[in-house]
Subunit: 159 residues, 4 copies
């Protein structure tokens, strides 16, 4: 198949024009993120980046950023990326995610980005990657595949 | 196949008789775990449990325990479960994990348990589950499948 | 937490009393399964087993059962396990699955079992395991975690 | 971090100059692939594509390509992509993979591509995607994250 065409992009534009303010406000209501020192740096349709400075409080026994801390911020980036494309009154829940750790997370700061691959009515697939920056050089330290659910009409799950 | 036999258990006993003290000391060197308020409650060959009281600082925007916090402690439980069966001088690294969120993590306290399914020379498979306790009733809120690597001879990765 | 209670089972009984006949008929409409020689041996609420005899046509380059063949039958077992608890007019689609290969799949025959962990209105979580039988001894060769979706009202996806 | 640099590529060149012939020969020894009608169309350092024409024998009950068939060929593409970077005498085993199904696999033909993300001495991470072509248009129907192991010195696992 030398003539295999390039796959079509499948993302539709956000149906909620106020998606950025909504997503940023929701992020600000996550105590776990603020406690870790995470900052939402970019919100675009289907794509969100969160930055995190190195903090010894977030490390494991070898002095690297804890895999759980990486997973936590990457999960948040993926969830909010999905949320940008959801209705204004919807909440987002993580159904599942898978994370591969490619390299020890050594660095001065980290960037976590989630990018929607396909947004369905109920289920949204998101890819994520975590980048460590050290001495001006960047390295991918983890990748994630996440499945997010659009939740509507539940009092306990709002945006 | 009505006569299919029950699968053989495949775990060998720990080769390091001091595995419990080693694993507990390593857990105590994880700042991220102590900062979260996690406590290692059980260490047995191939099985480790970590408990966590509810803390609003660990929640997401809906008031449930953050999925990242769940993943973090479950990853630790799985990693240390693998570590119990490793040589005394080995370090453990998470290659990858997958987590499914079965129910919102509401509860007064949580128990995270990792159980080794198969321990190889280099690669160990571990199952994990997270249980929420509320009003005296327990509920499984997440399950994990993790792959851990035995690391030896690297100065930056020690137990 | 020495007094942590055992988690509640969360499965509700099948709402479709004719679930077994429905699931078996659906299995019989999967050409890929019959071509592989797979046979559905057990259908219970939330649990389905499929057996497969060894066939050199299903092997990889080392002579073991191909990982893809294992994943295929395990995916089917998990999907049909989910289907047993779905409405009579619903179809089932696999959202995602993760599979860990614990041991080379050598054996005379194999049993693949899917067991529902949690059945929601839209999303169902299923655990699966693959067992190889050789010389009267059984060994777990793979485990799966799968997420299934209940599909209703779509002409192209029926049971 | 507006100045976050682009992550470094981390792939080293193949150490086995005969990687292409070796990988193609190994593919030809997988009865399961030839039985499915799969054809290896591209072998490059760290990247392999396999094509598959639609075949009703490979479908599930809705008439789409069976998820297991997709997973099987994608697993093969990922495994051989990893193999291109391995030593000439090494075998490759799949440790685990995760697959997300993005859209029903309808099409006249399919292309499965594996791309190495990081190649370590023992463990290699590979991303995969499956593309369906229908009426001259392509659509991504599934993505995979796989972990492959380099196996040396075992008589039962050779390239």
């Amino acid at each position: 198949m030398p003539d295999t065409p390039t796959p079509d992009a499948t993302l539709r534009p956000p149906e909620d024009p106020g998606y950025e303010a909504r997503v940023r406000a929701s992020f600000d209501r996550q105590p776990f993120m603020s406690r870790m020192g995470a900052e939402m740096t970019r919100v675009a349709p289907g794509e969100v980046s969160i930055d995190l400075p190195f903090d010894v409080e977030l490390t494991q026994q070898h002095g690297f950023l804890h895999g759980g801390a990486i997973a936590s911020v990457l999960d948040a980036a993926c969830g909010f990326a999905a949320s940008t494309l959801m209705p204004a009154d919807a909440g987002v829940l993580t159904i599942e995610f898978k994370i591969n750790f490619l390299a020890p997370a050594a660095g001065e700061r980290f960037r976590f980005t989630g990018r929607v691959r396909r947004a369905g009515r109920t289920v949204t697939f998101v890819d994520g990657d975590a980048i460590a920056v050290a001495d001006g050089r960047a390295r991918t330290v983890a990748t994630m595949q996440a499945t997010m659910m659009t939740v509507q009409g539940r009092d306990d799950v709002r945006h």
